[in-house]
């Protein structure tokens, strides 16, 4: 280190020095980094087990220097449930897309939350099926075009996009639910704070923790990374507002 300089930013050791397969500008990469920073800062590498089901992030285990399990499409919540039950002192997270968590795996999601399984859901809601080439997701916005809704999502036929963070916050087992994003440095910092809080609550064994990321998919949305940030601001956040939907520990502290 040159004299007079100090390190203000570096890759966490828990994030492997590998070229990621994610498209340029994709939040998957950002969230990976935040997550691994938290694991490093909390000193829990030896105690963390992650679950990455099918979706663009199925290769997450290529980048995270922790024990991980790949899971079948939609089943991460069941897999994470079992890991946490068998190894209750470990930090367990599932890292799921919207197709995974809110379509094919809805039952597993709801029931894990309802049982209050003490792991952390990291829910990457990008409103689309990224991995399979941009098909409609349960979170695709009204009127949004995808390869399977080429004329825009018709909510008359297909229903409104599912608001998962709001939904799961209704369940008694959930201790913390927040929706975050990474479109600005400020929001990225907030996202990290939320993830860390979720892990801390998990460590205390207070219930299910659920962090939804209003994420992007420049490739699936067929736009540039910068345009994807505009879409988030103009279209996504108005329907999927950022913020805390449930914070049981905070409520407890107040009384």
């Amino acid at each position: 280190m040159k004299e007079g300089y100090e390190v203000v930013y570096k890759r966490p050791k828990t994030l492997l020095d590998k070229r990621m397969h994610y498209c340029p500008g994709c939040f998957h990469a950002t969230i990976h980094k935040l997550l691994m920073e938290i694991v490093e800062e909390m000193g829990i590498q030896e105690k963390t087990v992650g679950v990455c089901p099918v979706g663009c992030s199925v290769f997450a285990y290529d980048y995270m220097d922790i024990d991980m399990q790949e899971a079948a499409h939609g089943r991460a919540a069941a897999v994470a449930t079992a890991i946490k039950r068998m190894l209750p002192d470990r930090y367990v997270f599932s890292y799921q897309g919207d197709g995974d968590l809110a379509a094919i795996g809805t039952a597993e999601t709801i029931h894990a939350c309802n049982r209050g399984e003490k792991f952390t859901f990291i829910f990457i809601n990008n409103g689309i099926y990224g991995m399979t080439g941009g098909q409609m997701a349960p979170t695709t916005l009204e009127g949004q075009k995808t390869t399977t809704s080429p004329y825009g999502r018709n909510v008359q036929k297909l229903g409104m996009p599912l608001k998962m963070a709001e939904m799961v916050s209704q369940l008694a087992g959930v201790a913390y639910a927040e929706r975050v994003s990474c479109n600005t440095p400020a929001n990225t910092r907030k996202a990290k704070k939320a993830l860390k809080k979720a892990f801390e609550i998990q460590g205390k064994g207070l219930g299910t923790t659920f962090i939804e990321v209003a994420s992007n998919c420049p490739s699936g949305w067929k736009c540039t990374p910068v345009e994807s940030l505009d879409w988030l601001k103009n279209k996504v956040y108005p329907y999927f507002p950022l913020g805390v939907f449930k914070d049981v520990p905070a409520v407890k502290e107040e009384v």
Binding site: Q45, E46, K47, T48, V49, V51, V58, F59, Y61, M64, D65, I66, D67, M68, Q69, E70, A71, A72, R75, A78, V79, A80, T81, A82, I83, R85, M86, L87, R90, A107, E108, H111, R115
Partner: protein, 352 residues
């Protein structure tokens, strides 16, 4: 000598699992299997296992996946429609090479079918069931005692080969009560350095996956598990012979029907018909060579497979016999258990 009890097959299976060091059970109720989860729920306060009544068989098989990959000794049990629902997960487990035990307390199908005993899931059990090239080790118990014995054996084989093992039982064995000798409980200390328990500084991270996106890697993975299946075939074939030494007719059956066929053999012998029973205990790996040996003997006139289905194991017998002798079939379906007399009559029909 272990403890002697009078128990239902399903309950004996659950007790045997506990005594084999069960650490996790994940299941969903379905007749005629529900006594397994009910028994485990009742016994839960006395033991340390994790028990979850899952939201579906899809969830339970994936819980088995997660817990097995975390290094635990785990089991799920179900009956036919439930096992169909699990197939994607079973395929993942086979590819990820996770030791675990399944029991299918088979009922009559297809469809919702009936809750009575059947052997209609033989193909599903021994040919894979889910997608891709894989095998479970499949044991076919024919008594409450064997539900117990095969349960312990299944856990041992699962660990030995890092392969899922299945008990292919049926509604009759699951529901019937018999005297059983229960084994002594064993503590279970897993030695699974590959398990995802948290990466310690002394080792690389452990990854449990069935994803091999490069064709070359996927082919290599397939070759690895195929080599393992060959090893299992070499070491683990199990069968039972009954009065076959001078037999001219080899009757064959697995599971429940094998018990009935012992009676068939005795009845035939009373009439002076030289019949013997050859019963595969492992239906995968299948005792192919043993059938071929019978077929090579001049005195053997024909084979008859008696099954509670439309003719499934008979196909494996035909492959083993390879055209050298006739292989006939007699079966009942829909939950009907054949009588010894009707099987004997079927065999006699083929005597010239």
């Amino acid at each position: 000598m272990g403890e002697i009890k009078f128990m239902k097959g399903n309950e004996a299976l659950a007790e045997a699992a506990i005594r084999s060091g069960l650490q996790g059970y994940f299941g969903y109720p379905i007749t005629p299997q529900s006594e397994v989860v009910e028994y485990l729920a009742m016994q839960e306060p006395n033991h340390n296992y994790v028990l979850i009544q899952a939201e579906s068989e899809v969830a339970s098989v994936n819980m088995v996946y997660g817990a097995a990959a975390a290094g635990a000794r785990v089991m799920t049990t179900t009956s036919s429609p439930g096992f169909s629902l699990m197939q994607e997960g079973v395929s993942y487990i086979a590819c990820a090479e996770l030791p675990c035990v399944f029991a299918n307390i088979v009922r009559g199908g297809p469809g919702l079918g009936t809750i009575q005993a059947s052997q209609g899931d033989y193909f599903q059990a021994v040919k894979g069931g889910g997608h891709g090239d894989y095998h479970l080790i499949v044991l076919a118990p024919n008594s409450v005692q064997e539900m117990v014995d095969h349960c312990r054996l299944a856990f041992e084989l699962a660990d030995k080969y890092r392969n899922p093992v299945m008990l292919l039982s049926d509604g009759s064995i699951g529901q019937m009560m018999e005297k059983v000798v229960l084994p002594e409980p064993i503590p279970y200390k897993p030695d699974k350095p590959w398990a995802t328990t948290g990466k310690t500084p002394d080792r690389k991270r452990n990854i449990i996956t069935s994803l091999y996106i490069q064709s070359e890697d996927m082919e290599k993975k397939n070759q690895t598990i195929q080599a393992k299946y060959q090893e299992i075939t070499k070491n683990e074939i199990r069968y039972e012979k009954y009065r076959v030494d001078d037999a001219e007719i080899i009757i064959s059956a697995f599971g429940l029907t094998s018990r009935i066929c012992k009676k068939v053999v005795d009845l035939a012998r009373e009439e002076g018909i030289k019949m013997g029973l050859f019963r595969p205990i492992t239906v995968w790996p299948f005792p192919t060579d043993q059938f071929a040996e019978f077929a090579a003997q001049d005195r053997v006139k024909f084979f008859l497979s008696a099954e509670m289905n439309a003719g499934q194991m008979v196909e494996d017998i035909r492959l083993s016999v390879n055209g050298k002798k006739p292989v006939y079939f007699y079966g009942r379906q829909g939950g009907i258990v054949p009588t010894p007399e009707e099987i004997l009559n079927a065999a006699k029909g083929h005597l010239k």
